[in-house]
């Protein structure tokens, strides 16, 4: 019963997040002073000055249809929500007409999820490992150095690391290519090597900043747990240090770190967007950027809606799984 109540409240938040996010995505463009359709028409007319008024009108009509700009605002809003929720239809991409936006997103999403998944996992493992060490051996010099380095790394945003890595490893010491190349099709070891090689810098920028936070929080957690009575008791019982760490300290420190992971999904995703753009990494971030540069509104709306949906879903999943992992948390 309690679980159902918990599930219910989480689902209400989840639905609310998505509806509010989509509403924002729908209304923000409509409150802007410039009309995207007129802007596009203006752009086209300035490129070719021999367009007949009838042709312009026809084009205006098609564009309005494609944007879902017909009817009253309420009709447009309901139509948009209906299309997106039931058919995930964001219309065709306007610059790569008639490829549906849905297809473009489908090819980019695995890239983003792969990059984020791998780099988040690596930084979580490395960071918590270092943090645990620095917390337990708190009097050692290396612990202080590690914590100091983490404090200097953590507050620096992802994209600054991305820029610094580009400067150092693509310009000053040119080990990596200036512009990443992911133009590979099909699966072969050669292609996989290209992908991994080109993903190293973007992944590294995400891993570095991510690691900083895990080191800082894990150091504090494990230091505090290490001073708890039950740990002292375990030591007095004569357990090996290894057993004390894996059986007594680790379980009590890892769980809060999983909660933090859930809370940070949104932030990590934000960071990944800019990193992708800076590295030309072919994920959702670059797709959003391409949409922006080419004024492809269907593409922008689609990618941003998907981003909100992905972050909300990931957060919900971690939230729901969490009580199964941590016996101390009951659904409330």
């Amino acid at each position: 019963m309690k679980f159902l109540k918990f599930l219910g409240s989480r689902l209400v938040t989840y639905v609310f997040v998505i509806v509010l996010g989509m509403t924002a995505v729908f209304f923000i463009p409509r409150f802007m002073p410039s009309d995207p359709v007129e802007a596009m028409l203006g752009q086209m007319m300035s490129k070719s000055n021999s367009m007949e008024p009838a042709a312009v009108d026809a084009m205006r009509q098609t564009l309005n249809e494609n944007f879902g700009l017909e009817g009253t605002l309420a009709e447009q809003y309901l139509g948009y929500m209906q299309r997106v929720i039931f058919t995930q239809d964001f219309g065709p991409s306007l610059t790569m007409y008639p490829v549906p936006v849905k297809d473009l997103i489908a090819t980019s999403l695995p890239w983003t999820m792969g990059l984020l998944g791998v780099s988040t996992l690596i930084s979580w493992l490395i960071g918590n490992g270092i943090g645990l060490l620095a917390g337990i051996k708190k009097d050692k010099a290396y612990s202080k150095v590690l914590e100091g380095v983490a404090i200097c790394i953590y507050p620096i945003p992802y994209y600054i690391f991305a820029l610094m890595l580009i400067m150092v490893f693509a310009y000053i010491i040119p080990i990596f290519p200036l512009s990443a190349n992911f133009n590979v099709s099909g699966f072969s070891w050669e292609n996989l090597k290209t992908i991994v090689w080109n993903s190293i810098l973007p992944a590294l920028s995400l891993i570095l900043t991510g690691t900083g936070w895990w080191v800082i929080s894990m150091t504090t957690l494990s230091r505090n747990t290490n001073e708890e009575d039950f740990v002292a008791f375990a030591r007095m019982k004569g357990f090996k240090e290894r057993t004390v760490i894996t059986r007594y300290i680790l379980p009590n420190t890892v769980l809060p770190q999983i909660t933090m992971l859930a809370l940070q999904i949104g932030t990590i995703f934000n960071g990944a967007l800019i990193t992708e753009i800076l590295f030309n990494y072919p994920g959702i971030g670059s797709l959003i950027y391409r949409g922006i540069l080419q004024a492809d509104y269907n593409l922008i709306m689609g990618t941003i809606t998907i981003s909100i949906f992905a972050v909300a879903t990931a957060t919900l999943v971690v939230d729901l799984i969490y009580p199964f992992i941590d016996p101390r948390v009951r659904y409330n």
Binding site: A24, M164, M167, L263, F269, L273, I292
Partner: protein, 274 residues
């Protein structure tokens, strides 16, 4: 000063240096720092141009100072509003309870989960990099009030049940006085930490947006400075001061803010212990 820990001291020193760079030095500089071709292009650092000039003919040092100023102003603007709204809403929700509390917390949870950057990018793309810094600051406020609101609410829930509040209420104190005299002191230390963190988050968000050209491109901020340097191939041309100066400044400012924040928390924790 005597009880200040190392982090707090170092943080304050770093922030003071940047406060001087951003708010004191620009008083001595006249002229528009963002105007192109004010000086000859690509001069080497000299006594006249401390960091040289860039290929747009701007003085890098003065551009940097003014960027620091604008970035800080955005951070402070967002932090002041978000903290004030968050603390007030959180106190109200916690003390009022009931349906108002539920609705406010549902809203707060929603804004915490929605990724803010895509929404900001959408805004930036629609205004084509000409959004005013106020608009961007305003949107950042919308995304940053929920954190203090949530925290302050749970604090005030705890405090509401404590004896000294009942005593105050029964002795006929007004709700406002109870809020101000009895509850606020508890919330204050936490709010300072949150305030600094929001400055950090806001500067970070605006710079990130600016780096990809989606902020306010015509205004000098640390992010737009990087954007223009990138646009003009500063890395390819080896103009490291142009792109390096804002990058180093952002790093140092963030480290300074973070040290100040954690140092302040240690400091107030110690003081509470006395």
């Amino acid at each position: 000063m005597k009880h200040w820990n190392f982090r707090l001291k170092l943080g304050v020193v770093i922030l003071l240096v940047f406060a001087v760079l951003g708010f004191v030095l620009p008083i001595f500089h006249t002229g528009n720092v963002t105007e192109w071709n004010t000086y000859p292009n690509n001069l080497k650092p000299s006594m006249e141009h401390f960091l040289g000039t860039n290929s747009l003919g701007q003085d890098i040092f003065w551009l940097l100072c003014s960027s620091i100023q604008n970035s800080f102003l955005i951070g402070l603007f967002v932090a002041v509003l978000a903290t004030a709204i968050g603390v007030l809403v959180g106190l109200a929700a916690g003390l009022q309870g009931g349906i108002a509390d539920r609705i406010i917390m549902l809203l707060a949870d929603t804004f915490i989960v929605i990724p803010s950057l895509p929404i900001l990018i959408l805004l930036g793309s629609l205004t084509k990099g000409t959004a005013s810094l106020f608009l961007i600051g305003g949107v950042l406020v919308v995304f940053n009030w929920p954190w203090p609101a949530r925290q302050v609410r749970s604090m005030s829930l705890t405090i509401r049940e404590s004896d000294f509040i009942s005593t105050a209420r029964f002795s006929g104190e007004s709700t406002f006085r109870i809020l101000y005299k009895e509850i606020f002191p508890f919330v204050k230390d936490w709010s300072i930490g949150n305030f600094i963190n929001t400055v950090l988050v806001a500067i970070g968000a605006e710079s990130g947006l600016a780096v990809i050209g989606m902020s306010s491109n015509s205004n000098a901020t640390l992010g737009t400075m990087i954007y223009w340097a990138n646009q003009h191939q500063a890395m390819l041309g080896g103009k490291w001061l142009w792109i390096g100066a804002p990058v180093v400044a952002i790093c140092l400012i963030f480290i300074g803010l973070f040290l100040f924040m954690t140092g302040q928390q240690q400091y107030s924790a110690l003081r509470r212990g006395k």
